[in-house]
């Protein structure tokens, strides 16, 4: 594992500190449940120094534009109840710590919820507003805002108790070799991280940096959109963003990053 840390492009670069203030843990000991990896690394470590630097200051991070838009939405009244997010939650900063523990079991709903599911639950049940599409721009912006106020806190999703069955399902999906190329997430992100696949430097496929602003498509990308792209690239029929399969996979992949800092919105290529 040490060798792989040294091989990543982040080696030698200054550690990630955002705005000279928020220290980000981009590699650390793997959580106990991980069987085949001893050091977990944020995708940030695998990017070029130029891309890495875009995350050191919010003025350089294009993902923060989505966060700014979401701050406006946060305070905008919508729906039949005459409420905004701010009516109940005050400043977005009151949700600091929330992103670090999501996806999370919701006792009342009897399901594991992603941040996106919770945003829609608040919109439909608490505001009488329409649900966002799961990967809509406004949804991903709001998810980026909620992540941004948790930056620097350690990812710490629960995998036991009522969430365990969902976590097991996600783990199963992670190791299933799909599509005509018969590749699993693990084939690329566990067996081959730090290797090049064509021109791409493979990371561990961590999601602590989501939503991710990708220079390639010049927008914020949701976790499920990234999963969809990776499954499609195995020449498989993908699951849909927001599907129970991707929710389970998200819980499992998030748990592989327990101990890394919440980093979203991050910048990748």
């Amino acid at each position: 594992a040490l060798a792989s840390v040294a091989g990543a492009e982040g080696h030698g670069a200054a550690p990630l500190v955002i705005n000279g203030d928020i220290e980000i843990v981009t590699n650390t000991a793997a959580p106990a449940h991980m069987e085949n990896i001893s050091t977990i690394q944020s995708g940030w470590e695998f990017r070029t120094p130029d891309t890495q630097d875009l995350q050191r200051d919010d003025f350089d991070n294009p993902g923060m534009l989505g966060v700014d838009d979401a701050r406006e939405t946060w305070a905008t009244v919508e729906g039949s109840e005459g409420k905004s997010c701010a009516s109940c939650h005050g400043e977005p900063e009151t949700l600091a710590g929330v992103k670090a523990v999501y996806p999370k079991w919701n006792e009342d709903a009897g399901e594991v919820r992603t941040i996106e599911m919770q945003i829609n639950a608040c919109r439909t049940e608490n505001m009488g507003a329409e649900a966002y599409g799961y990967s809509d721009g406004a949804m991903t912006d709001m998810s980026a805002l909620i992540s941004s106020v948790s930056r620097g806190l350690p990812v710490n999703v629960a995998i036991d108790g009522p969430a365990q069955a969902t976590w097991e399902q996600g783990k199963e999906l992670y190791y299933t070799r799909t599509g005509q190329l018969e590749l699993s997430c693990a084939n690329c992100h566990e067996d081959n991280y730090d290797n090049l696949i064509r021109a791409d430097h493979l990371s561990q496929g961590q999601i602590n940096g989501f939503p991710v602003y990708r220079l390639n498509n010049a927008k914020l990308n949701s976790v499920h959109d990234r999963f969809k792209g990776c499954v499609r690239d195995t020449r498989a029929e993908t699951y849909k963003p927001g599907s129970p399969e991707f929710v389970a996979l998200e819980l499992y992949v998030a748990s592989r990053g327990n101990g890394l800092s919440v980093e979203g919105p991050s910048v990748r290529n």
Partner: protein, 143 residues
């Protein structure tokens, strides 16, 4: 004549216990020049996404997921090479390398890279003659 014969269908390919395939899939000698193009072309074999080889230098960005293929023509004979390209899983159990001449046994196969379910039966990733061409090229990669 042999040249006019039907190619061996993916399900009919005979692998020996080590994964080698003695019989040509088409009976037509492979064209190494075309094999090289197939290996470097994204929409065809795209072998360079995982393998580097000096002989494929004209196609930029070689991957590191599989072994470097320089000298591979000294390591394997024609039958073994055909087996590896047609279905490497018969030579290397559980390998990451995709099976290029196979059409069934997949989990959630899609319609190429669309992410959608296929509407027609799947074809193999490479045709029988593509496989023969690639094998012919690989056999030229000698130290």
């Amino acid at each position: 004549g042999i040249a006019a014969a039907e190619p061996v269908a993916p399900a009919e390919v005979q692998y020996d216990e080590y994964g080698a395939v003695a019989q040509s899939l088409t009976g037509v000698a492979g064209d190494p020049a075309n094999g090289k193009v197939i290996m470097g072309t994204k929409s065809k074999g795209n072998c360079v996404s995982c393998h580097a080889a000096a002989g494929l230098a004209e196609f930029p960005f070689h991957g590191e997921v599989g072994p470097v293929l320089d000298g591979v023509g000294d390591r394997w004979n024609e039958a073994e090479m055909r087996g590896i390209v047609a279905n490497a899983k018969m030579t290397y159990e559980g390998t990451i390398m995709p099976a290029f001449y196979k059409t069934e046994g997949y989990i959630r196969p899609g319609d190429a890279y669309t992410g959608k379910a296929p509407t027609e039966p799947l074809g193999p990733l490479l045709s029988a003659q593509d496989i023969e061409d690639v094998v012919a090229f690989l056999l030229t990669l000698k130290e």
